[in-house]
Each structure stands twice: as C-alpha cells, then as structure tokens.
Symmetry: C2
Subunit: 207 residues, 2 copies
Amino acid sequence: MVPVSHSPAADTRRQHVLAAARRCFLANGFHATSMQDILREAQMSPGNLYRYFPGKDAIVLAIVEATLAEVTAAFEQTLLDEPPPLLQALTEILRAIERLDDHEGTPRLAIQIWGEALRNPAIASLFAEAITPVRQWFVHLVEAQRHHGLTSGPVAPEHLANVLLGAIHGFIVQRALLKLDAASYAEGLRGLLAAPASPQNDASGTS
Amino acid sequence: MVPVSHSPAADTRRQHVLAAARRCFLANGFHATSMQDILREAQMSPGNLYRYFPGKDAIVLAIVEATLAEVTAAFEQTLLDEPPPLLQALTEILRAIERLDDHEGTPRLAIQIWGEALRNPAIASLFAEAITPVRQWFVHLVEAQRHHGLTSGPVAPEHLANVLLGAIHGFIVQRALLKLDAASYAEGLRGLLAAPASPQNDASGTS
DNA sequence: TTGACAAGAATGAACGTTCATTCCATCCTC
DNA sequence: GAGGATGGAATGAACGTTCATTCTTGTCAA
C-alpha cells in the first residue's frame, strides 16, 4: 500500500475526491455507492485515488465529519453573537437549512448520517460530539429568551432546548422528504411560541 | 424462477423471513445487510428463501411497509378516539415511541427508511402516503385544542401541526442517537405549549 | 400394513457480476 | 533521469440469485 501523501497539492486532490464522493453519497447513500461510482464521478483511476485515501471507510468518515461541521457552522453563524430573540434565531436556522438543502444537500446527507450512526459507533460518537455545542447554544438561547419575557415556568431550559432542537431535526426530515418550506415551518413555530393564554395580545402581530 | 406460493403455511414462512430480515436491517441497515446475513438469521438455505420472496428488494419493501404501518398504528392508537388535550396526546405518542424503540426498534428502522426514501422513489411514496393521515390527525388535534383554550392566533393549524409532527420526528432522532427519554422531552413540550406570549416573538429577522 | 408414487419443501454448490483493493507499467515534471 | 503522479488491468472475496437434486410428507392401491 502506498502511504498517503501530505503535500498541499495532495490536499487539493483529496478535496476533489471528497466533492465527488459527496455527490455520490447524496444520490445513493453510503453503502449503495461503490468505489467505482466515486472513481467515475471524480474521473480518477483506482490506483490514483488510493494514493489519497486508504479506503472507502476513510472517505465516508471524512464526508461525515465535513457534513457535521457544515451543519454546526450553520447553527453557529446564527447563534454566535448576542443571541437574537428565540423565534428569529429559529427562523434563521430554518432558512439556513433550506438554503443548504437546495444548494449543497447537506441536510439530506445529515439524514444518512443518522442512519449510519445507528450501526457505526464511530459515527455515532462524531454525531454526539457535534451536537453537544449546538444543544448548549439552544440552552443559552432559551435562557436569554427568558430574560426577554418568555417564562417557561418551572420547566428547565435544557428540556425546552431539546424540543426546539428536535423541531429543527423534524424540519430537516420534512424538508427532505415532503418538500416543506422554511417559511411555513417558521409560521408554525411562531404559532407555538406565541401561543397566547388569552386572546388579548394580538398587538404583537406580524409584518 | 419459482412462483411464490400463497398457502397459509407459506405466509407463516414469509413472516419468519421478515422477522429475521428485520433484525438484520435493524443491526446493519438495508444495504449493509447481505442476503447471507438474512439467510443465516432465518436459518434457511438460499433456494428455500427464494421460494417465498422474489429478491432482496421485495424483502426491503415488505419491511418498510410493515414499519410504516407500525408507526402509523402507534399514532392511531393515541389519536383515534375523541382527541385528548394536545400535550397529553403528544406525551402518549412519545411514550409509545419510547416503548417501540426499546422493544421492537421500530423508530430506528424509521430513520433508516428516511435515508432510503431519499434515493428510492417507491419508498419515498410509501412514506408520503403513510404520513398523510398522521398529519391530518395532528391538524384535528390542534383544532380541537383551540376549542379547549389554546388559540394560536392567526397561525393556521396546518402549520402548527407540521411543527408538532416535526418535534416527534426530532424525538425519534434524539431518542435513537442520544438516548433521550420520553419524559424529559414531554417536559420540554409542556414548557413550550404553556409558554405565555411574548412581544419579542416576532419573526421579522432577515438573513 | 406396506410399498409406489406425487408434490411441496428444502438443500447447497455453482453462476455471473460487482465489490474494494492492489500492482505495476507508463507518464509528466523538475 | 529520478521520483512523484497517474492509468488501468488484475485480484480475490463477496454479492444476489439460480438450479439440479434430495428430503419430507401424504395418498392410496394391494
């Protein structure tokens, strides 16, 4: 076996392979994609590709890591600064996911990762590690919102954060499989978060 | 090819195969499970199994149909009669999912189905068909809740229903991959549904 | 009760294909 | 002309599937 090269040019080459593999995985999933599919998509010979990756598993793992990082980045971008109002933050996340789904397909890849994590402990760990900071951001978001007026009563912010994160996961599923759009999902979230206890406050209406 | 038999004994035999296949798919996914895996699990010879199923695809399809039916049934059982209060209904669904996850593994199979639906139009159709009545039940649930005091303002029940369904999907993911329990998720839902209105909950943010 | 016979059930070796991977001759570039 | 980069044939294992054959069971005439 030829040891994997580490030059800067080799990195470019690796990225080329990963881009091709990503397209294949997106179209056919991890296991239904063959090396030959990737080779064809990357327009490479097998001997050449194996100079840059030790095997298929390494490619899958690299794609998983990159995808998780992409999704995390999408959250990070929205939540990094001073936390915005809860609904606004969620809406922006939904929009970011919709954009990713349309242009890069990342959320669909995420669904495949969930499935793979069920049988591959290494990927399950990666997923768990990737989601931990996101969860924490959601907790902060909820806590900040509490200061802005939302009081969730005796319910711990962690529990609320899990449900909100779950709602995002649910949007990924419904976006990918049922073509749901971010705007209507955000509308539903608005209804949930703004659910008035009494009908007196429709002064907080929308644009 | 030997035509598939239709006697009652054959049906028993088919169920035996499906039970074995289900265990394999649960452990390794659809594509990483080989026919030999299923044959070993079912303790059958290949020639014998092919008397009952025309091929692997047929087995996968049968498992998908059965799994979707199982999940739908779990919802149906909770929502069939007079709709209970929203939070109570959702809590019961979460509990049902947790039970299925512990004993049958159905929700984990559902995640695999999502991934497969991304690349197999036939399975995507099955999923869409299966979820349509569930969605409708959620709409009814929201509408009934409105009569019980929750008024979601100008937000259409359909949008709320999508988010609630999404929250359930999100629980399936977090249950399967992060061992989240139904009780704490229900607690989060309670906090969400009971949250009093806040003037900050206005989605006017832009990207 | 027995033996001949039919038919469904089950077997497992074998098939052609495709899989991931390796090996090596050849090409380019410095 | 040396050495990294590349192409492509070749490898053996594993894949889904098939098929000739054997086993099992039930029937019925003698």
